[in-house]
């Protein structure tokens, strides 16, 4: 009998301490979600958004805007340049931009928005709302319909419904309005200081004011984006901005913290030069380089490197990546430096947006000075001065013709300001406005007008340009609410020209 007593005793002893013994399941290496604060999370959200919008999406936009084309001795972007982009575009081990923007950037930004609202920390509420809006606006512009009203709910809604782009825009504009209307003097606000990656400043001189300007300029950009598809909405929205005396960006809204170090460099640079392991992919396209050359534009050497072992610049015709001419092997490479900033809205862009708005809704009063300021800002970014270009008889002088001619000048100059990490915007604005124009001949033809877009040589879409991205397989395979597939050539909602 003794043995049973021993067994029972041992068993009993074992189980009394059982509960405590098993209480070892707290991760020592990752903090719990309850420790998250807007201050801690906002920088991650901004970095994720900048990382993709100024990284692989800028490369995609840069090729489709025809600043760049695929080099002949490498093959990384051939499918992009041929419009042979499938649902899995850009998929690597870490997933497509869609995945990082939703689960990396937007989830963080959504947390910042919700938490700062709860804490009545209106500074962070505005900052979070602006970057969230910017990111979702880019997703709408690329994918047309995206999850918005049912997104970011985690396990509570595993298959969010897709909202149409116009609905998302309206929702975002309302979110911006709400954030702009808060009390930025409230004692519950906190100072971002250098945690603000867009307008960093010492804590005692940091101000929310540039963010208000950023928000207003973003609203202006979004209203202009819908100017052709929803003219009444656009006009009302823009006029309200002016009536309310909205202040627009008077500096670049950009993330400018990159250094020449691995994991810390400009995302376009990291992706295309550092990580892929060859710089032979992204080369100057004849389309844009010929325009710079014909105008004698000094930004040529800011946007591209000279051809290998040559002081001259050499471009490849768009999409002509099978060309076996050895002369093209050393064609001009795209120039993006590791310390280049990622622009969200550049100062030049702010001026061009204002010029367009004034031209469209206010009879053009003040448009020219914003146009000139835009060109000047774009040149100044690289230490150049466009005075001679803007002076009477200069190549870029503001036209005096029709409103459409003026629009073409504004958009063309805006387009010319975007290469590098802001290149996606060049392609989006081209789709909205139709400028630069599409050439009827290929760029090898004597009749080719420099600067006009050509259908890429090895394009597979029968002469129709890419107008969007296809919803990624990574979303479709997990979300049955993903809409029926649209081809790459189908226009997004605001693309009506």
């Amino acid at each position: 009998m003794k043995k049973y007593i021993i067994i029972t005793a041992i068993t009993a002893l074992a189980f009394t301490s059982c509960k405590k013994t098993l209480d070892v399941n707290t991760d020592p290496d990752n903090p719990g979600v309850d420790q998250a604060t807007p201050t801690l999370v906002l920088p991650s959200g901004i970095a994720s958004a900048a990382g993709r919008i100024g990284g692989d999406l800028a490369i995609l936009g840069g090729i489709w805007a025809q600043y760049y084309t695929q080099g002949t001795t490498a093959s990384q972007y051939r499918d992009v340049d041929a419009f042979n982009v499938t649902k899995s575009y850009g998929q690597t081990t870490t997933g497509v931009a869609w995945v990082e923007l939703y689960s990396g950037a937007l989830n963080d930004l959504n947390f910042v928005v919700n938490k700062s609202k709860q804490e009545q920390n209106w500074n962070y509420f505005l900052m979070g709302t602006v970057i969230k809006t910017y990111t979702l606006q880019v997703l709408v512009d690329l994918y047309d319909k995206v999850p918005y009203s049912e997104a970011f709910q985690g396990a509570a809604n595993l298959q969010p419904h897709f909202d149409d782009g116009y609905t998302v825009y309206k929702g975002l504009l309302a979110e911006l309005d709400s954030a702009l209307n808060k009390d930025f003097d409230a004692s519950t606000n906190s100072i971002a200081g250098t945690n603000d990656f867009i307008f960093p400043d010492a804590a005692n001189s940091w101000s929310i004011e540039p963010w208000v300007r950023f928000a207003n300029t973003l609203k202006l950009k979004m209203y202009l984006r819908m100017a052709y598809a929803k003219p009444a909405d656009a006009q009302a929205g823009i006029q309200k901005l002016y009536t309310d005396g909205a202040l627009f960006l008077n500096q670049d809204a950009q993330m400018d913290v990159f250094v020449n170090a691995p994991d810390k460099a400009n995302p376009f640079y990291s992706y295309n030069f550092l990580e892929i392991g060859t710089d032979a992919n992204l080369k100057a396209s004849v389309t844009f380089l010929s325009w710079l050359q014909v105008n004698g534009d000094p930004r040529l050497n800011d946007y591209y490197f000279p051809a290998t072992n040559s002081p001259n610049y050499l471009a490849i015709n768009q999409g002509d990546f099978f060309n076996t001419d050895a002369a093209l092997n050393g064609a001009s490479k795209a120039r993006v430096d590791p310390t280049d900033p990622v622009e969200f809205i550049s100062l030049a862009e702010s001026h061009f947006l204002q010029a367009e708005a004034l031209e469209k809704y206010y009879g053009g009063a003040g448009a020219k000075s914003h146009y000139d300021a835009g060109v000047t800002a774009s040149f100044a970014r690289y230490g150049d001065n466009p005075a001679s270009f803007l002076a009477a008889g200069g190549r870029y002088v503001y036209p005096s013709g029709t409103a459409e001619q003026k629009l073409e000048a504004i958009i063309t100059q805006k387009y010319a300001s975007f290469p590098g990490s802001h290149a996606l915007e060049g392609w989006l604005e081209r789709n909205r406005t139709g400028y630069p124009r599409i050439s009827t001949v290929y760029s090898t033809s004597g009749a080719y007008v420099p600067g006009q877009l050509v259908y890429p040589k090895n394009g597979i879409t029968n002469g129709v340009f890419a107008k969007r991205l296809i919803w990624p397989d990574l979303e479709r395979s997990k979300n049955a609410n993903t809409p029926a597939e649209e081809p790459l050539t189908a226009k997004v909602w605001w693309d009506v020209r």
């Binding site: 041992i10 979600v33 970095a47 990382g51 081990t93 870490t94 396990a155 969010p160 892929i276 050895a326």
Partner: protein, 1064 residues
């Protein structure tokens, strides 16, 4: 009659206490006269026992009328009455599935095989070490019906993969069988391997099982089904490999020495085209890393870089065996000395083993060294018994990293990219002015010798494991045992890439002097340090009962409790961009190191019991159950219970079948469950240190002096339940023609339900994964083992064993809304799981066809379907093994064939071979321009929206010939060529052994001397389509994800050598 015997036996036991003790000596041999070592000899009804030594001899003290029981795993046990004799020569029959074989069952218990109602396969020492393997599992490849055992690369000390009855877990990281050594769980993880499961192909330093010296193993039993393994609890879901180590034995001191010397050479390599040489687009560009140049003409020609206005000259002709010549001959020395001895109460075993291996890569880049020290002892004092086992392993190795990124290049990728006319071995002098960093012939790849000699990866591992056991025998019927095991290991790995930064104005530097003007993108170098610590303590306490409760009915069983505590800590730091060339330390950079730490702690408490009923000698029933409490499950919901039962019946003992050819027949049935807890820290969502993925590269915090955290991508789940595997197994064993033919057949159906995995979810939820219980996976299949003894005579015996395994794997359920799970991908090629399909279907877009079966093209290339379609699955159709042993007097010949049919894998080696024009198929059509036969081009759509086609007139020319073979332009065609069949037939080993006649051996005062010639993996057959690589290799880890294929990795090896065993 049996009944009477047992009655007499019982009587004898009672009487024996009064009888006179005497010393009995003898010798035990197998049926062929070969001495048997390690046979257990016990005096029936007492605790007195001993074992035979290497010469088969034993000494035991017993009373006059005792009965001696001779038993040994894999042999028929025999009971012999002493009957006043003192000398015995016993021959045990050597059939591995004999009627009264003893098998090791759960928790270190042994059981008569008759009583076991499930399939278990046992291998004895001789089988395991037949070909002198470094890892115990290498000797068993292709020999276990129902187990898929593979070595994942040709590097010395490479990991092995043991998958029993198919892949159960969709998580893809935990399908390995549990390893149990002497009743204690044994860590089998790949310690010190960077990126264990990432598809980036980190270096492999072998899994834990390879730490055990095969010469120390007495036997290995493989428990395949849930009924057999459920007593091991939550970790036994994928089957159990039970390893029983050698113990000491009573008798005079015996020394065993085994030694082998093996040479290894590279086995399968890619087949190269031999018609076209260096260049691109058909031009003879001298800086190209491929063979897309003009036709080889054998003429003397200048080649390579221009340095100091001079150039090299060589014939423009195909270099035979170019890649093969890159490899060296490897060596492998494997020595073990073991001493054992003891008396009737105390025995000991001591061994020291040493492996020193240098693989097939040049220099010391692939080295494996292992020292193993084992000490075991057991003692008895009356009713008390105690034993201990202590093992220390010191392991060190070098291997090569197969990752290629901005810090450095992969040797294997560089080898593949050398044009077929350039003699690779010329580059060995990588400081030579033509082949150095500045002037290596191509700016698109690195000198493979530079990457192998300047980059490196090392690993050092100290491991200690052992156990103590105490027991007390209350009576013949009741005893208690308390066993505690500990397993601690600390592995340190370091790897580094050298800076490779050609100088400006050199052949491949900035402003290069080569004609194409292409620069090599500087590799900035890196250093990584990794420290991996694991510790596991496991303790079992149990009470055994064995009692005849009525006439003909025996009841035995045990009750027990278990406590298991596991801890791990992994710390990794990496710095990218080195300052001082050639100095590899984390301090040597202007950049901050990126550091990660992962610590885990988990505990399990278990209570278990088993009851065995035996009716006479023909009906057996076992019922077992275990309950477990796990720290990783939600509090209050962390207990789970799983029962198992199995039964066997032996009709040959009920009915008289002596008039039929059937000499033995057993029918088995088993049903069991195993549960499994959650991975650690699965219950809560967490924050992660800020890291924005760029697609290529990352933005890692801190940035600009700002620290950042982000919401993690994984949603924790506080409602997790344990996952469960349920398995039904039916089987039969039949022996015919006086045991000359034995058949063992098993059918099983296994379902794993409520798997705890990170389910990928739509990113629009804000997250990427949700930890949840989901997914039902079924594995069902058949296993057949046949053993035949076609010839058995005094001098000549031929035995053959054949195994056949067929497993069908299917996903039955996925969570709602989830169309598929992607396990891995290579560009557009994915390995997926879908409902109704096997785990791991390889999918990619296919060639687009018109309704009337013509190829649709775009720009002359194949157009591909918009959606991914299946090319096949990673699962095998079936596998077969054939193992033969022929013995003529003292000479024995054994060989083992392993055939595996079906399944596909994805090969980056193939992809690169096509890219650079080295692959044999790229000489297709003699590289003359052609239009894809039977092809059309879409010109528009008709009124119904249907496509209109016209004849395709765009030829594939020399300008885009290479694009035709590569996946950036001609995807579907490329996928067809790099998704390769996995089938193979291997001659795993062949050994010819000669045992010196006893008289000769005695002259050197040895008892037993055996010399063997060994060949391993000397023949490999694969389908013609796979002209690239051994389909078993992978650098993607040794679990499900690794089945996807390989990312340009090391070739496998074949070995020849000799082994010597002697005993004195």
């Amino acid at each position: 009659m049996k009944k009477i015997v047992s009655f007499i036996t019982a009587f004898l036991v009672i009487v024996s206490a009064f009888a006179q003790q005497r010393t009995i000596r003898g010798k035990v041999t197998d049926g062929n006269g070969k001495p048997l070592q390690g046979v257990n000899i016990s005096v029936k009804g007492t605790t007195t026992a001993t074992q035979t030594d290497a010469s088969g001899s034993f000494t035991i003290s017993a009373a006059d009328r005792s009965v001696l029981v001779f038993s040994s795993v894999g042999f028929a046990s025999q009971e012999i009455a002493i009957d006043q004799r003192t000398e015995f020569d016993i021959a045990l029959s050597q059939r591995p599935t004999d009627l009264t074989e003893v098998v090791v069952t759960a928790l270190g218990q042994t059981k008569n095989k008759d009583k076991v109602g499930y399939s278990a396969t046992t291998f004895r020492s001789d089988d395991i070490i037949r070909s002198a393997p470094v890892s115990a599992m290498d000797g068993l490849q292709g020999r276990v019906a129902g187990a898929d055992i593979s070595t994942i690369s040709g590097q010395p000390g490479a990991s092995s993969r043991i998958i029993i009855r198919g892949y159960n877990s969709i998580g893809g990281q935990s399908n390995q069988a549990l390893i149990v050594v002497d009743g204690v769980p044994f860590n089998n993880s790949r310690l010190g391997s960077f990126n264990d499961f990432a598809n980036s192909g980190g270096p492999d330093f072998g899994n834990g099982l390879n730490d055990i010296n095969p010469n120390d193993i007495d036997n290995i039993t493989i428990l395949k089904g849930a009924a057999a393994s459920s007593l091991y609890g939550s970790r036994a879901q994928n089957g159990v490999v039970l390893i029983t180590t050698k113990k000491g034995r009573a008798g005079k001191l015996s020394v065993d020495f085994t030694s082998s010397a093996i040479t290894t050479t590279v086995a399968k390599l890619p087949t190269m085209q031999d018609r076209f040489g260096q260049g691109w687009f058909g031009n003879d560009w001298m800086e190209e890393n491929g063979s897309w140049g003009p036709r080889l003409d054998g003429k003397e020609r200048l080649w390579g870089s221009i340095v100091d206005n001079s150039r090299l000259i060589k014939p423009y002709s195909f270099v035979e065996d170019n890649v093969r010549n890159f490899y060296d001959m490897g060596t492998e020395l494997n020595n073990t000395i073991a001493i054992r001895g003891g008396n009737e109460t105390t025995t000991f075993y001591l061994s020291y083993g040493n492996v020193n291996s240098n693989g097939i890569l040049p220099g010391k880049s692939d080295v494996y060294k292992r020292n193993t020290l084992s000490m075991r002892g057991q003692t008895k004092a009356g009713k008390f018994l105690a034993s201990a086992s202590l093992n220390y392993i010191n392991k060190a190795g070098n291997t090569v990293n197969t990752v290629s990124d901005e810090t450095g290049s992969s040797t294997f990728e560089n080898i593949i990219q050398v044009p077929v006319d350039i003699n690779m071995t010329d580059f060995k002098d990588y400081n030579n002015k033509f082949f150095n960093v500045n002037n290596y012939f191509t700016p698109y790849a690195s000198n493979p010798y530079y990457s192998i000699f300047e980059n490196g990866t090392t690993n050092k591992n100290d491991r200690f494991f052992g156990n103590t056991e105490f027991g007390f025998d209350f009576s013949k019927a009741v005893n208690v045992r308390w066993r505690t095991g500990i397993d601690v290991a600390n592995a340190r790995s370091k790897d580094w890439h050298a800076i490779e930064d050609p100088g400006p104005g050199t052949w491949r530097g900035p402003n290069p002097t080569n004609a194409e003007g292409a620069s090599f993108t500087a590799l900035v170098g890196d250093v990584r340090e990794l420290s991996d610590y694991v510790r596991e303590i496991n303790t079992d306490f149990f009470v055994n009962v064995n009692k005849d409760i009525a006439k003909d009915i025996n009841l035995s069983g045990f009750l027990g409790a278990n406590y298991n505590d596991q801890e791990s800590r992994r710390h990794a730091s990496r710095v990218i961009g080195l300052t001082i060339p050639g100095f590899y330390n984390l301090s040597n950079s202007a950049n901050d190191p990126v550091t990660t730490t992962a610590s885990t702690k988990r505990r399990l408490i278990g209570a278990f019991g088993q009851a065995n009923f035996a009716y006479k000698d023909f009906l057996f029933l076992t019922v077992n159950a275990r309950n477990e409490w796990s720290s990783t499950l939600p509090e209050g919901n962390n207990s789970f219970f799983y029962p198992g039962t199995n039964a066997s019946i032996i009709p040959t003992r009920i009915f008289d079948m002596s008039s039929t050819p059937i000499s033995f027949w057993k029918i088995r049935a088993a049903y069991g469950k195993t549960g499994k807890d959650a991975p650690v820290y699965s219950l809560e969502s967490t924050l992660r240190s800020g890291n924005a993925a760029l697609g290529f590269g990352n933005l890692i915090f801190p940035l600009n002096g700002v620290s950042g955290f982000e919401m993690g991508d994984i949603i924790g789940n506080s409602k997790l339940k344990p996952e469960q595997t349920t398995e039904l197994e039916l089987g039969t064993e039949i022996r015919l023609f006086k045991n000359k033919l034995g058949i063992d057949f098993t059918y099983y159906n296994k379902r794993t339900d409520g798997q705890i995995i990170q389910v990928p979810i739509a990113a629009s939820t804000g997250y990427q994964n949700l930890i949840t219980n989901f997914g039902l996976v079924e594995n069902k299949g058949i296993e057949l083992a046949v053993d035949i003894t076609p010839v058995k005579s005094r001098d000549f015996t031929w035995t053959t064993n054949f195994t056949f395994t067929r497993n069908r794997n299917k996903i039955l359920e996925l969570p709602e809304g989830l169309e598929k799970v992607d396990f891995n991908s290579y560009f557009d090629v994915k390995m997926t799981g879908r409902v109704g399909q096997p785990v791991g279907v390889i999918e990619a877009p296919k060639k687009l066809m018109t309704e009337d079966g013509r190829y649709v093209t775009a720009n002359g290339f194949f157009a591909e379907t918009n959606t991914a379609l299946p090319y096949g699955s990673i699962q095998r159709d079936y596998s077969m093994g054939l193992n033969n042993t022929l013995t003529y007097k003292n000479i024995s010949l054994g060989f083992n064939l392993d055939y595996r049919k079906g399944g596909y894998f994805v090969s980056r080696t193939a992809d690169l071979g096509y890219f650079v024009g080295n692959a044999a198929l790229t000489a297709y059509n003699d590289r003359k321009p052609f239009i894809i036969p039977n092809s059309v081009i879409q010109t528009g759509v008709d009124a119904q929206g249907k496509p209109i086609y016209a004849e395709n007139t765009t030829p594939i020319t020399m300008a885009n010939y290479y694009a035709y073979w590569y996946h950036t332009s001609n995807k579907a065609h490329s996928w067809e060529n790099i998704i390769l069949p996995k089938d193979f037939l291997k001659l795993r080993d062949i050994t010819l052994s000669y045992r010196l006649p006893a008289a000769w051996a005695k002259k050197i005062s040895a008892q037993n001397v055996t010399i063997s010639l060994i060949g391993r993996n000397i023949l490999l057959w694969v389908p013609q389509k796979n002209s690239f690589i051994d389909p078993e290799v992978t650098n993607l880890g040794n679990d499900l994800i690794g089945e996807f294929g390989e990312q340009a990795t090391s070739a496998t090896t074949k070995s020849f050598g000799a082994a010597l065993k002697f005993n004195f």
